[in-house]
Amino acid sequence: MTDTASIKKQESTRTKPLVEIQGVHKLFGSHHVLKGIDMTVKQGEVSVIIGPSGSGKSTLLRCINLLETISAGRIYVHDDLIGYREVNGKLHDLTTKQIAAQRREIGMVFQRFNLFPHKTALQNVIEAPTQVKRQSKAAAKLKATELLEMVGLGDRADFYPSQLSGGQQQRVAIARALAMEPELMLFDEPTSALDPELVGDVLEVMKDLAKSGMTMIVVTHEIGFAREVGDTLTFMDAGVVVESGNPREIIANPQHHRTQEFLSRVL
């Protein structure tokens, strides 16, 4: 399974988009949250999604790593159909084992960090590599220390999450996701729960990550980040993509009145 995945990786680089979202709908009961989303993200691209709360942007993100299941459409990451196996046009559910394998390729950072409170920063970061990838503890620790250095928390390895500020916790969470060496990182409003003066440190780490070539999908309210770091900007409202394109152009000159309205309120 991993062998074929890695072969595919080499073949498809740069020719096909890393993430392909095709006609995705999501219904919570009768509540229609996503109404036909199409979106592509190329390898190494930073794709920023903005929109008012309730627009479905977080739901879309959660569908990509199967924290929610989609009601219609297809999501491909690296040519792998997410959540299903397609046989003769009929979709079959993946087993929990296969779902776990797909998730390993996709890192996720949450609004509320969701660090494991009973583990230190270092233990948080090595948890998945040692438990899922079966890396040796020594190797995982070495890598984790490197990652914590990278996010500026090398001296905080032995601290519990409750001893860290929100911004520090979020940076540990980023390191934890990176420890699995994902090819795609999802950020679900990573700075929305932070005090204003702590936002900058987290955005700085995300900028570095973008520069290093990581493919990222970022749901955020940080318009400045979108303008500076984003390769594409997607504006969602009421479950549809209203406008999408170059972030600087959209922010400077939004075409759709709903985009104009939203930007005038947040800028």
């Binding site: 494991f116 009973h118 032995d158 519990y160 860290l164």
Partner: protein
């Protein structure tokens, strides 16, 4: 008492800083209450020591009697082994109850329904008479030849019957406590672990359960102390070596029930106290990272380097500092 007498003592700090040395609010009624309670206590002690019908001499004679000490031992064995069985089953039942597999959920539900829904005394009677129901335990092909067989009476003797009876009954109550504990853990923990590619069983075992233990331990300690007393029902099996049975037997032999009740009460209190000490340490272990952590300086700058060496102040009495 020290609370009553407590007074703020202000040490004048450095740099000519004048600390507030306010006169505390007086609580005269606390003193009155303390005197009343003390008086009652003195009266109780006085009546107990002077009333000859307590037979304190007999109490002292039997307190360390071999039979009594053995009874204490057996009561401890019954309590600990049945609780271990109950905890293992309860974890399993709680996980099953949260499973995606509907079969697991139903089985878990029915188990709890049955063992919680019938009296423990009845269940102990049943386990005591299982030998009469099934004289032999036979392993073989269903509806086919038998391979092995044992006498039920030797496999399920009184001790086993008592432990199994207590353990299975308790597992139903503990399963609900464990379920409540698992539910108390924030959903984001499950999501974060699953997003890392961890399988659900691993998430439960390594992420959810350790956090749930904080909530699980206090009521489980309660149940353990309850079990200590419930072991006195094993005469239903009949199992006749536990503390209550032994002291009752001695009481009817000596015709002095009161001092032997006192002996039993004394030992139950001693065991309870020991269990409470154990609970304190278990709670502290599972509280790591959440309870009793010293807040480290939040701004990561120069101060961090100094704090790095010992993230948790040992003087604070907390354990589990950083492991490098």
């Amino acid at each position: 008492m020290s609370r009553l007498l407590s007074r703020r003592t202000a040490h004048s700090g450095g740099a000519g800083l004048e600390l507030i040395d306010a006169v505390p609010v007086r609580h005269p009624w606390r003193w009155v209450g303390a005197v009343v309670i003390l008086l009652i206590l003195v009266l109780v002690v006085q009546s107990m020591t002077t009333n000859p019908k307590f037979y304190w001499g007999t109490f002292r004679t039997y307190l360390f009697d071999v039979l009594v000490i053995q009874g204490v031992g057996w009561t401890l064995i019954l309590t600990v082994t049945s609780m271990i069985i109950a905890i293992v089953l309860a974890i399993l039942l709680a996980f099953m109850r949260q499973s995606d597999n509907p079969l697991f959920r139903y089985v878990s539900w029915v188990w709890v329904w049955f063992f919680r829904g019938t009296p423990v005394y009845t269940q102990l009677l049943f386990w005591g008479s299982v030998g009469a129901l099934y004289p032999k335990i036979i392993v073989g092909v269903p509806f086919g030849p038998e391979l092995f067989s044992w006498d039920t009476a030797t496999v399920i003797n009184a001790t086993v019957a008592a432990i199994v009876g207590l353990g299975l009954n308790e597992s139903a109550y503990l399963a609900e406590i464990f379920r409540a504990g698992l539910k108390s853990v924030d959903n984001g923990q499950m999501e974060a672990a699953e997003a890392l590619g961890m399988r659900r069983s691993k998430v439960m075992w390594r992420i959810i359960l350790p956090q749930a233990m904080r909530v699980i331990i206090p009521p489980t300690g309660n149940e353990t102390i309850g079990m200590l007393k419930t072991t006195s029902l094993v005469l239903a099996v009949p199992f006749t070596l536990d503390l209550t049975f032994v002291t009752n037997a001695l009481a009817s032999r000596t015709f002095l029930p009161i001092p032997l009740l006192m002996v039993a009460a004394f030992w139950y209190l001693v065991i309870t106290s020991v269990l409470m000490v154990g609970q304190y340490y278990i709670e502290r272990h599972y509280g790591k990272g959440v309870d009793n952590v010293t807040k480290a300086p939040v701004q990561a700058t120069a101060a961090a380097a100094a704090a790095h060496a010992k993230p948790v102040d040992p003087a604070d009495g907390t354990t589990e500092g950083g492991r490098p």
